[in-house]
């Protein structure tokens, strides 16, 4: 600290600290905490108070609508023919058409949805399988608006229900404001099994696939009572991580010789040009490199047209529907993030060491294994982490390449859960769990490789 004061002065040091604290807190830590909080919050529509609130609204609407049926003749005289046609016109077809058994010919009004829903015996939002009702839960009188009663009585009942519900709503809201609404319910949604309706044939076909076998082995697919279930959330997660790890390994295998060639096996003059050949694709906007692939893999794209022309196929292959295509394009897009860290470290190796080893009779494999690889371990680790993270978090590649035609990448699942599902808090839970999973994988990998975070600064 004193050193900082000495070389930068109090003012500048304070500015540096303020900036770093703002970065760490406002941009990194607090957003993750907000995310965690969101992930643990039950969605508002599931709260008991919201059920009471909607009962109150229904009862109020019921009172309003019933008011129109109270004195039909009077109303018609006043409104001059506008209300009557609509009132009778709507009432008659529904009377005859719906013909519900409770509705005898003498009923004073047609079916009204709001009045039907205005009952204190109302079902609560609970986990599937669990049943609870508002009146039993909170000890309310069992009131409901009966269509057979005279209309003034109905209005009276609806008013009562409205009052009871309003009271309950305020008390429940107060209670809920004080009670914590946090829980792990949203997280369990990730592992929830979903029943897949399938014919026996389709089932047998799907069971035969090796991916399906692997997934049932780890319990993500199972059969119960003749129905097949899949834990879809976990399945997508497992598949994404599997592909991301494969992409990382493939990139490593592809890139190691490249980095070796540019760093150690060529003259510096030629290395400049080879570097250009690597830097140019690296610097081009990621989206454009993905778009460049569409004209290759389209149904009328390069590969299909060539294969058709040769006569190897008669129907175009649907590359866009294959997860393998997404995999290949991900490797293409992110492979260079592996080259540069390895190159940067290899570049610092003294070539004389290699010469010495050769002179002492080491084989090429041995030189790599004992000299070059240990030296470039940090670069390999950083490259692997970068590639893995990019591949695991890939969103643009599956979105652009597949156009929604094939099964999802986990990042797409998060997007769909957050922006398109009814409960966005589950999306937050997915996202937070994904962060945790990725960090655990990286931490384990760093521990295995004995890499420190400081290597990141060294190899960039």
């Amino acid at each position: 600290m004193n050193g900082l004061f000495q070389s930068f002065g109090k003012g500048l040091t304070a500015i540096f600290f303020a900036c770093v604290v703002a970065w760490a807190l406002v941009l990194i830590i607090l957003p993750q905490l907000a995310m965690l909080e969101r992930a643990m919050t039950k969605p508002a529509r599931q709260l008991d108070s919201s059920v009471a609130g909607s009962l109150e609204r229904d009862a109020a609407n019921c009172v309003n609508i019933l008011g129109h049926y109270l004195e039909p003749t009077e109303a018609s005289a006043e409104s001059g023919g506008v209300a009557i046609p609509s009132a009778t016109g709507m009432a008659i077809p529904s009377m005859s058409g719906m013909a519900s058994p409770t509705l005898n010919a003498g009923a004073a009004r047609p079916y009204i949805l709001q009045c039907d829903r205005a009952t204190t015996h109302r079902k609560m939002v609970r986990e599937s399988g669990e049943r609870a009702f508002l009146d039993q839960l909170y000890d309310l009188p069992a009131l409901s608006v009966s269509a057979d009663a005279p209309i003034p009585d109905q209005i009276e009942t609806a008013r009562q229900i409205e009052q009871i519900a309003a009271q309950l709503y305020t008390t429940l809201q107060e209670a809920e404001a004080n009670a914590s609404q946090l829980g792990f319910g949203n997280f369990t949604a990730i592992g929830k099994p979903v029943m897949i309706p399938r014919t026996a044939e389709a089932q047998a076909q799907s069971d035969a696939a090796w991916a399906s076998k692997a997934l049932s082995l780890i319990g993500l697919r199972f059969t119960k009572d003749g129905n097949s279930y899949q834990r879809i959330g976990l399945e997508v997660l497992a598949r994404t991580l599997f592909f991301a790890i494969c992409a990382t390994l493939l990139s490593l295998i592809v890139c190691y010789p490249i980095a070796y060639k540019v760093a150690l096996a060529t003259t510096p003059e030629r290395a400049v040009w080879l570097m250009l050949g690597l830097i140019i694709p690296y610097a081009i906007v990621e989206l454009m490199r993905i778009y460049a692939w569409t004209s290759i893999i389209d149904n009328r794209g390069l590969i299909n047209e060539v294969l058709l022309w040769v006569g190897a196929i008669t129907e175009p292959i649907q590359f866009k529907r294959s997860a393998l295509t997404v995999f290949v394009v991900i490797v293409y897009t992110y492979v260079l993030f592996m080259v540069f860290p390895i190159y940067n470290v290899m570049n610092t190796l003294d070539r004389n060491q290699i010469e010495a080893a050769r002179d002492l009779g080491a084989s090429t494999a041995r030189v790599h294994w004992r000299i070059i690889m240990p030296h470039s371990k940090a670069g390999i680790a950083v490259g692997c982490i970068a590639t893995f993270m990019l591949a695991a978090g890939a969103f643009s590649v599956p979105r652009i390449i597949s156009r929604g035609l094939q099964s999802e990448w986990f990042s797409q699942t998060i997007y769909n859960k957050f922006f398109e599902a009814e409960n966005s808090n589950i999306g937050a839970a997915y996202s937070f769990s994904y962060t945790l999973v990725c960090f655990v994988i990286v931490a384990v990998f760093m521990w295995v490789m004995r890499t420190r975070l400081k290597d990141f600064a060294r190899v960039q």
Binding site: F5, W23, K261, I280, Y291, L302
Partner: protein
């Protein structure tokens, strides 16, 4: 030596693999057919480029181009510049502060600071966008360009951090000490010695921050709300069941050309410096 020839061949195959899609992209941008294709050649055209300056009447006359919204495209690009105008200076400032503290501060929390500041670079981009959205939404700021800026700064600041740190570690501390001994104020030393020393690194960090801000898709997509940027607008064009318009390939070709020219210029300059 055969092993050397194999390695050479492999190297060229790899470079060909990297460049082949890009070359196809350039070719398709001159083909008069939509969606872009290399196999179905319908004649040379420059209209996918001319889209950006041709008259409204011409655009309406073309069956492919008339479905596109040029003004929106330009506005989104403007948004991108706006975002970058905030993100680049802010991330340079944060990156510089972080680099100074990580290299010079020997406090107890140093190790923790490493983890915290580098974690955005280790996290999947989508999560940064989403958490910025949730966090600022909680504070009452709706999703839009502001959340995009905040989400981008979170990880873009990491690039200046790493670049400046590498440079700071090589800074001769004696210069600074000499200036301090001669009675210069610390601020003066920073302005006259440290900053000039960091200037080349700051410049390259700014370029990298600018590029990564403009091209960022994953993070932006999650934080943007109803707003749009250059990258998200281009990404949105893929959601067309008939394939994307070749205008994208024209834009891509321009980007490729700019990148190639810039890379060649950079290589030429650094070669001259080497001599």
């Amino acid at each position: 030596m055969t092993s050397e020839r194999i390695l050479n061949g492999y190297m060229w195959a790899f470079i060909a693999f990297m460049f082949a899609p890009l070359i196809l992209m350039i070719v398709t941008s001159f083909n008069d057919v939509s969606p872009p294709s290399v196999t179905d050649w319908r004649g040379f055209t420059g209209k996918w480029y001319a889209f950006f300056w041709m008259s409204e009447a011409d655009i309406r006359a073309d069956p492919v181009l008339r479905a596109l919204d040029r003004d929106r495209f330009v506005a989104c690009f403007g948004n991108s510049l706006q975002v970058a105008a905030i993100v680049v200076p802010l991330s340079l400032l944060l990156g510089l502060s972080g680099a100074v503290l990580l290299t010079r501060w020997r406090g107890r929390a140093n190790g923790l600071l490493w983890w915290v500041l580098l974690s955005p670079m280790l996290a999947p981009g989508i999560i940064l966008g989403l958490s910025a959205l949730v966090f600022w939404g909680r504070l009452g700021v709706g999703a839009g360009l502001f959340t995009v800026m905040m989400a981008q700064v979170t990880f873009v600041a990491g690039y200046p951090l790493l670049i400046l740190m590498a440079r700071l570690q090589r800074q001769p501390i004696e210069l600074e000490e000499a200036a301090l001994d001669l009675g210069a104020s610390p601020f003066h030393v920073f302005r006259r010695i440290t900053l000039p020393f960091l200037l080349p690194a700051l410049a390259s960090a700014a370029v990298i921050a600018l590029l990564s801000s403009i091209e960022n898709y994953n993070t932006t997509m999650f934080a943007k709300g109803g707003a749009c940027t250059f990258a998200t607008e281009i990404g949105a064009m893929s959601r067309n069941p008939n394939g994307h318009p070749p205008v994208i390939n024209a834009v891509g070709t321009v980007i490729i050309l700019i990148t190639v020219v810039a890379a060649l210029a950079h290589a030429a300059v650094s070669r001259r410096e080497m001599r």
